[in-house]
Symmetry: D4
Subunit: 249 residues, 8 copies
């Protein structure tokens, strides 16, 4: 950051005509950057081609979501709306007929640009079939951000041989998203066998002592496998977003 002495010197050079206004302005850019930097936050994800705007629909009315989508529709970015119900989609579709609905992922997507897929890919695994909605939210999120995604569903303890059968393929992913409810043991098993970053997603699948996903959350946080980090319960979006970020490194 520029300090007072430097600023005074710069202004002095301008007053002497040694430095043109445009050059001074350019020099000040970095200074200004920090301030504008905050302003840019608002847009910094959207200004790069292909990055979608994201709307969290839960707690918003269909009308509100449709209104936001309509406003965004005038821009060139892809749009992703998560936690969207069928009602949300109905309203959005009226205003924006090209909108697609991914029912299991509860996601609405409006594609404006065809982003090229990454060469590396994200592996998304679930322990059970009931973890699939969360996994699909992660998958759709990662895909709309331009990532190649491979799915390995229902490979938890009850069908662990399917994990072992696919292990060499799973090891080829650049980063893994592992989704599990109940005791949430799958990320520990995967993390012990595969030398890739594992993003663990606890789900609220289960009952009683599952405590709406807390048992899985605690289990994943205390995993004895290395390379495992955790996002919020049922947070497929967060996992897909982070996996995409890592996949593109």
């Amino acid at each position: 950051m520029i300090n007072e002495q430097e600023l005074k010197k710069l202004l002095h050079e301008v007053s002497l005509g040694n430095l043109g206004v445009d050059d001074a302005l350019k020099n000040l850019k970095d200074f200004e950057y920090k301030d504008l930097g905050f302003a840019k936050i608002d847009n910094h994800r959207t200004i790069r081609t292909g990055y979608p705007e994201v709307i969290f629909c839960q707690g918003k009315t269909p009308e509100q979501v449709a209104g936001i989508v309509k406003y965004m529709d005038s821009q060139e970015q892809n749009i992703l709306a998560t936690r969207a119900s069928a009602e949300h989609y109905e309203k959005v579709k009226q205003l924006c007929p090209s909108a697609e609905y991914f029912e299991m992922a509860r996601a609405i997507v409006v594609r404006k640009q065809n982003t090229e897929k990454t060469k590396t890919h994200i592996g998304i695994l679930t322990a059970g079939t009931s973890d699939m909605p969360v996994a699909e939210e992660a998958a759709i999120t990662a895909e709309i951000f331009g990532n190649e995604v491979r799915r390995y569903y229902d490979i938890g303890v009850a069908g662990i041989h399917r994990f072992y059968n696919n292990i060499s393929e799973i090891r080829q992913a650049k980063v893994l998203v592992v989704v599990a409810g109940m005791e949430g043991a799958l990320p520990s098993i995967v993390g012990g066998m595969v030398d890739k970053p594992v993003i663990a997603v606890p789900t609220s699948v289960g009952y009683g002592a599952a405590l709406n996903g807390l048992a899985a959350l605690l289990g994943m946080l205390t995993s004895c496998a290395s390379g495992v980090s955790v996002v919020n319960i049922d947070n497929g979006f967060g996992a897909g977003y982070l996996a995409g970020m890592i996949n593109k490194l």
Copy 2:
């Protein structure tokens, strides 16, 4: 249950000589049984040869424990004292020189009888080396009750191949005790691979979100594997006792 009228009638029959004393006694047996039943509770574990008296030392002074052992020492049963510190043992040894101390299991044993070992055996597994004190408490408990025990320690996620290497042997146990801290995933893995009753023991090994064993406890209770039940955190004695009960069926 007999009521007053029936009892009066029965006594009347006896007074008339219509009912002999032994037959009356037999009729009253079921009645009497319940009362004696309660009295038997006190002794029912000690009256059968080879079953030990069990002393829970935690919260007792060395003097108190030694006093109890001395009193029991006059009888013919084996004695088991759990959660015993070295200080407890020192005092006990003075009064009862034949007492043995199992340091890792924190258990004092006084053997009065050589119980024949069972032909079937109990398999005791731990996820990590720090789970061993709890596992040893289970093992010593089961052994003093006359069970054959086989140990498979440190075979959790960090060394899961050792579990797979020993799986055919592990499958030969009649019942399994699986001890694990942190995320407590091992019972799920074992329960998914081995068709035997699994007694899961969460341990307080871990830190932070392990919440002194609660994470492992919740994980084991919500295990998606069938055939798994759970005892209290660090309750090696309870697991060893129950495993012995099942092993002897």
Copy 3:
């Protein structure tokens, strides 16, 4: 486990004719076993006569459950669907008219084989009448797996004399399932009086400080009676399955 050198040597011996195919195969068995082992998981419960496939209906649509039942219906195994609503049953019945519905147990059963009942039996006890759905889930599960079951319902503190009246009969069971909500004290009482393995099932019956079954769960885990282990809140299926496993030992 075989390593590359050993494998190469073995194949060399086969190529030289020094080792016959069958002998080589036998030598490889142990090696192969582990892999096939994983594959067997998928089927290892179904390949033995009379063992049912189990479907957890909660969170599945009637259409999904009916689809799975239809697929299974082509095989010779019995089918058990737990946590099934009347709606689930309606759909299943259309595809599979022989399906029975146990309303209290919320279970659908399709019987393909008449398994012979065990000679020993499982005793299932409840503290109150509102614990009966969980107990019935345990009972139906145990029965479809071929176990003889005897029910002792509503014998908790409010009617403890019924427990004492039946105590000699209860003591004849090989294993006990004890179902209780609220403070969950019954397993402690039973465990203190009966020298058989007790599988305690906390239920979500109660309000306020019952915390949806957590009070009962904690109470059962900290029971001062020996021989008691615990499954998840309301997990009748898990208790019935485990009791069957122990009953058949």
Copy 4:
């Protein structure tokens, strides 16, 4: 409540001689009562013969406790100091040689008056021996308040026949204090068998899922037996005080 106008009128009547001082005083009694009421709080326990002052020693230094006792010693009331360590007692004894120390109850007592014991009595029960310090705190508290106390210790599930053996005697108490740790089942059993008020005291005895007494607390609060109320974990004083209050009704 009297308002300003009424008060002025009353004083006016007094000044005119229409209302005598004693009558005016009587009229003001109800008014005055409320104010004195607050003042009485401070002393209302001490003004009646034989009621002790109570000092909660935990968190106070031996010097502080001794200082308070010394100050009180000049008055005629009995003194009770709870949660007192041996160090507290040492200091107190120097200032007040007649002070007695009840080690198990962790209580210091200075008897100034011999209160006549009540004819009815309080029954105090414990589930285990390690619950005795809490029970003794209740007993000493009740006794110093002038109540007759009968003790029934170590009669929990592990020795429940002793409860049944003494049940007719226990039923003669006017009120019961039932102390239990771990799963805290004893108050439920007692409450189901004895038609007297039961004050349940959970203790911090136990480990793991006992959660320092929370398991017992929750169990007692959700007891299916009627006539049971609960005080704080390890709060023997509170139970003894309340039992004395009820016993003296």
Copy 5:
């Protein structure tokens, strides 16, 4: 308790005519007592005139409740059904037209006998108006058990002067039930001012950190006032039952 030898001897004396039937019966009484004791549990509350049978309606269908009431209706006891909805009442009324419904208390009452009211009374206090349903459940319960009840509602912190205005009247109660939600402070204030047993009832009134009544429950358990004990959240029945028990001492 009598043992087999003694019993045999006693029967022998009867058979010899040395002991009359009535004397033998008397000797057996104590023995018999325990057994009949258990049997009496079932009925011991109903056999004394005026004590009602109590039905907990929550979780029971209107048909089930009506069925139970109909069965009881043939006996001479009063009937109390708690947690009864309007639907429960509709069904009950069809079978038993004399049934009354207390909407706020959610209680159905069938009066068979006019029990004389006690001379002493129970004071029932609430902090707010929304605590009234729980207080009314306590009041109706106490009244149907034959107790005189006086109500002091909505006298918590927001209107504490009403408590002070009524304090001399409140002090005349033999026992107090104090019902409060949110922070549950009223029992502490009452317990500090009134020297009578206080049964504190936390309610689930409140939101956020009230945690469905847990905040009030914890506050009441840790009250610094003496003479306070606590029942489960929203457990008006339990408080009214216990208050009646104490009031009748």
Copy 6:
């Protein structure tokens, strides 16, 4: 406080004419004060012009709320009803046509007096748009109490530049209400940058580990910024009321 002797003496002096009625009254003031003090509680908020009566609608029927409003409507105070649904408003409007409804704030307002706004103002900030209902409840509450309010909504981490852009304006507020759900970080950021009292309001916005607002609540309580205090989850009314109190100092 005056005691009986002093009071008697005072009355005696009045009867003798040594003390005039007014002087006696003055002497008694302090005595009397306490009683009137309690009486004033009831009215002390309403007696000052412009202070509204507040009704908490949650858990009250539309009829009940309308009844209370109608009763209050005869007085000159403004009326504020919080947590009011559209149904509440419909009923209120029928009885009191001038009633206004603030939908987002879920508040009904009946304005009887035009209170002059304060010169200083309260700043109300939210982290996200879904925190706005709670913030509006705070804002409407503060405004009806006569405070000037300025709103800065949706300036949390996702749009923190808007906070920095408005920071000099925000610093001009006399007191700040900062509303945030999820991790509740905004009060920490504001408290670190602005040297004014911050009333932090956690909201139940979020899912999973947000634990219905507990995560935000704990975060705000442990904020490392100074000058931050916290009210209950979603308690916009409490924050607005307290902010108004501070703003008017």
Copy 7:
């Protein structure tokens, strides 16, 4: 914040000589302010006369604390070190002999300036004597910041008449800090009687269900009194700092 157009115009004016370098610099100040603003955070509390630097000693060694104090000692500000043990003080005193130690408040103070006390004052109340260390931390903090403080200790439920006796004086404070452990009811009582902002401080005083201060914390958050906000358990510093901030408004 300045935008690009304004900046370009400003630089243009400088290049034309219409605006001097110093004036331009001054104009840019506000712009610059935001950036320097962050830098100022570090010092903005210390630059005004009399405001102390605050050191949180917990978790720091005596050497570390003494080192920080020594560094600060060269400046003119007062110094406040909280959570300081006697060991901390010993080391500090060696380097800075004028340092004072407030043992109960666990605070070290180095006074460099005599700040004039405020005319308005802060009232600090505690429920019990064991809450005094937390209250003293608040008091010392407020005093070193230049506030007049009045203390009202040990006026909780057990001595509530002392609160009522002092109520008119307490009402004269500008803001109140109310410190209480156990059930934490005092802030509710105070908030219901006094129309001033109440900063409630829960303490960890108590045992069992007090849950190390959580019971008091929850109680204070759910207080039905208006005008109450809460800081972290035992956070006397935070309460004193905030009270000072409000007192100086």
Copy 8:
């Protein structure tokens, strides 16, 4: 996976000479892989040059740790021992004089190889100085794994300008580890400003409602910033290991 038929056929082809040993071996690779895969787990971190063996010292005696280090010392890998006390280090140093001790990180390092540092780097940030031990554990772990690390400590809310001052440098990191206790807000702020993966590490720094790190943990899990994942409380090792994994992608 290969099945028995295929394997027999393959062996047959080898015996016939139709398939060479090497080709057969290659065909079996995938088969064999899985088994060797398990075996490799044990060593797969050590076989690549420069990867250290990791020892978790907590709960191990100095003797045990020294023993393990001595055994490993014979190999060529670097050694990392975490959670090591000074006592651990003393014993290790005796056996292995080249061992270094990082006191703040509580880590022992034995360097056998000089791994080349990565060109990209990991940024490690802490909110406060007391979070530094956890951050240093992360830093030392990442460095011993060959990563370039840059530290930005004590830049939380109390010194947030230091974060803003370094933001352009921080943005150059490939991945960030953000360590914070108390409310744990820093990861949200960083995640909102920097478009890189953020590994959030909650610490147990704080008191009261910080709940030993749970407040920070919940806050980080519910962060509204994208790209943030979380590891266990105080798990610096886990964060450093995962950051290294991502940095090397």
